[in-house]
C-alpha cells in the first residue's frame, strides 16, 4: 500500500518536474536581460513594441469573432441534431472531429485553392475577405472542442421536453433557442469559448499562410530575431492559456451551482 502511494507520488513528481522545469527555466531566462541581475526588461521591451499590441489585438478580435460565429453555428446544430436528427449524431460528431486528424496546413492549402483570387468566391483577393477566411479557418479548428462542450451541456438537459414545453406556451423557434436552450447550455458555451480563445491566440499555420498580422506569427518572428523577448512572450502566452483554463473552471463551477435539470 505504502509502495503504491510512493509510486503514485513519484509519478506526479516526475510529471511536475517535466512540466515545470522548462517553464521555470523560461521564466528565469526571460528575467535575465540585464547582465547585473533579474529585471522585467524583456517584458518592458515586449509591451512597448507596437507590433505586439497590433498582433495581440488582432488575434483577440479574431478569437472573439470565432467564438460568436462558431457558437451561432454549433449551438443550433447540436440542438437540432439532439431534437430532430438523433440518428445523425455520429455523423456530425465525426465531421466535427475531422480538424483533429487533418493537419492545419492541409486545411489552409485547401482554402487557398478554393478561395483564391481567381475562384468563384475570391476571399483572398481582399483584406476583409482574408480576415473572414481566417475566422472561418479558426471556427473549423475549434469545432471539435466547441461542439463537444455544447453537446455535453445539452446532454444534461432534456432538450426535447423543454422545447415542447416552450412550444405549448406559444414560443417560436427564436425564443426557444435563445431564452430556453442557450442559457441552459451556457457552461458548455463558455467552456468552448475559452478553449477557442486559447487555440486562436497561439495559432500559427493558418495566420502565417494567409499572411495576416496575428499573434502566432509575431511570436515566431520575435523568436527568430531576439534573445530574451521570446521567453517573455512564451510566459505571456502561457498566462493567457492559464487564464482561459481558470475561467473555464469557473464556468464549470457555475454550472454546478445551477444544475440544468428538466
Amino acid at each position: 500500500m505504502n509502495l503504491q502511494r510512493f509510486g503514485a507520488w513519484g509519478a506526479i513528481l516526475v510529471g511536475a518536474v517535466y512540466f515545470l522545469v522548462p517553464l521555470i527555466g523560461t521564466l528565469e531566462f526571460s528575467l535575465r536581460m540585464r547582465r547585473d541581475g533579474y529585471s522585467l526588461d524583456a517584458y518592458r521591451s515586449v509591451f512597448s513594441d507596437s507590433q505586439f499590441h497590433q498582433t495581440f489585438g488582432y488575434s483577440m478580435l479574431m478569437a472573439l469573432l470565432t467564438i460568436v460565429f462558431g457558437m451561432l453555428l454549433v449551438v443550433p446544430t447540436a440542438y437540432w441534431v439532439r431534437l430532430r436528427l438523433p440518428q445523425m449524431r455520429q455523423v456530425v460528431e465525426f465531421i466535427t472531429l475531422l480538424p483533429l486528424v487533418i493537419p492545419a496546413i492541409v486545411i489552409v492549402f485547401g482554402y487557398l485553392r478554393m478561395y483564391n483570387s481567381s475562384s468563384i468566391l475570391p476571399l483572398t483577393g481582399s483584406v476583409t475577405g482574408t480576415n473572414i477566411l481566417l475566422v472561418l479557418s479558426y471556427i473549423t479548428l475549434s469545432l471539435p472542442y466547441m461542439y463537444r462542450a455544447v453537446d455535453t451541456a445539452m446532454r444534461a438537459i432534456d432538450v426535447r421536453t423543454l422545447t415542447e414545453a416552450a412550444e405549448s406556451l406559444g414560443a417560436g423557434w427564436g425564443t426557444i433557442l435563445f431564452r430556453c436552450i442557450f442559457p441552459n447550455v451556457m457552461s458548455g458555451v463558455l467552456s468552448g469559448a475559452f478553449i477557442t480563445l486559447a487555440i486562436v491566440m497561439g495559432e500559427f499555420t493558418m495566420a502565417a499562410l494567409l499572411n495576416r498580422p496575428a499573434f502566432g506569427p509575431y511570436l515566431q518572428l520575435v523568436g527568430a530575431n531576439k534573445a530574451y523577448e521570446p521567453s517573455a512572450l512564451a510566459v505571456i502566452a502561457f498566462a493567457i492559456t492559464w487564464l482561459s483554463m481558470g475561467l473555464l473552471n469557473l464556468a464549470t463551477r457555475f454550472s454546478k451551482i445551477a444544475p440544468a435539470r428538466a
Binding site: E164, A165, E167, S168, L169, A171, R179, A258, P259
Partner: protein
C-alpha cells in the same frame, strides 16, 4: 357539438400503426383520462392533440376548429409533462410568466396573473426559487401553474404524477382535480395508474393497442366492464368462462357454476349463450355457513394471504374452478386452509360479458 373531437384518428410510425381509427368526443369542462399500459398509444394521442405529432389520418377539432394545420404554439393548449420540464435557468415566477411574456402581455398584467397562479397552487412564497431548489411535487405544481397561466382552452396532463412518490402523488392528484373543477377547464389526462384515473376523472377511456376498449364513468368502467381486457386492467377480477342457462327479460341470467346456480347481469346479445362471468374479489362475501343459500358458491379455502386490512383467499369450487375472494372487516383472516365456506355475491355485482 363536443368541445374536443377526435374522429377516425390514425397514427403510424413507419410500418407500425400505433393508433387505429380512434374516436372520442369530450365535452367542455370535462376531465377525461386515457388509461392503458405502456405502448397502448395514449401518449401518442395526447401528443397529436398538442400538435407534437401529426396524425396519419382523421380529423381533430377543438371548439369546432380544425387543429391539424396549426403548430403547437398556435393551439393555446397547456401541457404538463411527466419530467416537469421547468426551465432550469428561470425562477418559479419567470417560469409561470414565460407564456404571458411570449404573448406580449404588459408587466403589471403578468405580475398579477403569476401571483394569482402561485396562490392557486399555494407556492406564492417560493416565487424566487429556482427549480433545482424545489421538491418534485413542488416543481410539478409550478408546471401546472405555468400551463394554466396562459388561460389555455385545453389542459393536457402527460402522466404528471408518475415521477413522484406515493404520498405526494395522492395529495397532488386531489389538488389537480380541485383546481380543474375550480377553473372548469377541459382536461385530458394520460395515466397507466387505474387509481389515479378512477379518482380524478369524469370519464375514462380504457385503451388497448391504439383503440379505446371502453369509454365511461369510473363507476361504469369498474362495475360494468364491457370486455375481458377492461375487467382485467381495471382492478382485479375473476374471469370464468360460462354458459348461461336462462336469460331473463330484465337483463339478468342464471349461471351454473361449481354446482350452484347464481343470478348475474347479462350483457350478451340475445341468443348468445357463451360468455365470461366477471366477479370482483372484493364483491364476494365469505361465510362459514354450510347450508345452501341463494347466490352462494360453495368452495374450499386452498390459499390464504394476510394483507393487513384485508385477507386474500383462493377458493376451489366443486368443479375445480378457482376463484379469488377478498375479505374485509372483523376477523377477515378467520378461514383456515381446507375450511369449507360459502362465497356469496349480489346479482348486481356479477356480470356476464361477451368472450
Amino acid at each position: 357539438m363536443s368541445f374536443l373531437t377526435l374522429q377516425n384518428i390514425q397514427k403510424s410510425f413507419g410500418p407500425v400503426q400505433v393508433v387505429h381509427n380512434f374516436d372520442m368526443a369530450i365535452e367542455k369542462g370535462e376531465f377525461v383520462s386515457f388509461l392503458g399500459p405502456s405502448g397502448c398509444g395514449k401518449t401518442t394521442i395526447l401528443r397529436m392533440i398538442a400538435g407534437f405529432e401529426k396524425p396519419s389520418g382523421g380529423t381533430l377539432t377543438i371548439a369546432g376548429k380544425d387543429q391539424r394545420p396549426l403548430k403547437p404554439n398556435q393551439r393555446n393548449i397547456g401541457m404538463v409533462f411527466q419530467a416537469y420540464a421547468l426551465f432550469p435557468n428561470m425562477t418559479v415566477h419567470d417560469n409561470v410568466a414565460f407564456g404571458l411574456k411570449v404573448a406580449g402581455k404588459a408587466k403589471a398584467e403578468i405580475d398579477a396573473r403569476v401571483k394569482e397562479m402561485l396562490a392557486l397552487i399555494r407556492l406564492d412564497h417560493l416565487a424566487d426559487r429556482f427549480p433545482y431548489q424545489m421538491s418534485g411535487g413542488q416543481q410539478q405544481r409550478v408546471a401546472l401553474a405555468r400551463a394554466l397561466a396562459v388561460k389555455p382552452q385545453l389542459l393536457l396532463l402527460d402522466e404528471p404524477l408518475s415521477a413522484l412518490d406515493a404520498k405526494i402523488r395522492v395529495s397532488l392528484r386531489e389538488e389537480i382535480r380541485l383546481i380543474q373543477q375550480k377553473l372548469g377547464i377541459t382536461t385530458v389526462f394520460v395515466t397507466h395508474d387505474q387509481e389515479e384515473a378512477l379518482s380524478m376523472s369524469d370519464q375514462i377511456g380504457v385503451m388497448n393497442k391504439g383503440k379505446v376498449e371502453q369509454l365511461g364513468t369510473p363507476k361504469e368502467i369498474y362495475s360494468t366492464p364491457r370486455t375481458a381486457y377492461v375487467a382485467d386492467f381495471v382492478g382485479a377480477a375473476n374471469r370464468i368462462d360460462v354458459s348461461i342457462s336462462d336469460a331473463n327479460a330484465d337483463g339478468t341470467a342464471h349461471i351454473q357454476l361449481g354446482g350452484a346456480s347464481i343470478l348475474a347481469r347479462n350483457t350478451l346479445p340475445a341468443a348468445t349463450r357463451d360468455g365470461i362471468l366477471i366477479m370482483r374479489p372484493e364483491d364476494l362475501r365469505l361465510s362459514a355457513n354450510a347450508s345452501a343459500e341463494a347466490q352462494a358458491l360453495p368452495g374450499t379455502v386452498v390459499k390464504r394471504q394476510y394483507l393487513g386490512g384485508k385477507t386474500s383467499y383462493k377458493l376451489a369450487l366443486a368443479d375445480d374452478t378457482v376463484i379469488s375472494v377478498e375479505s374485509h372487516g372483523d376477523n377477515h383472516d378467520g378461514f383456515d386452509i381446507g375450511t369449507k365456506v360459502m362465497a356469496t355475491i349480489d346479482p348486481s355485482k356479477a356480470v356476464v360479458i361477451a368472450s
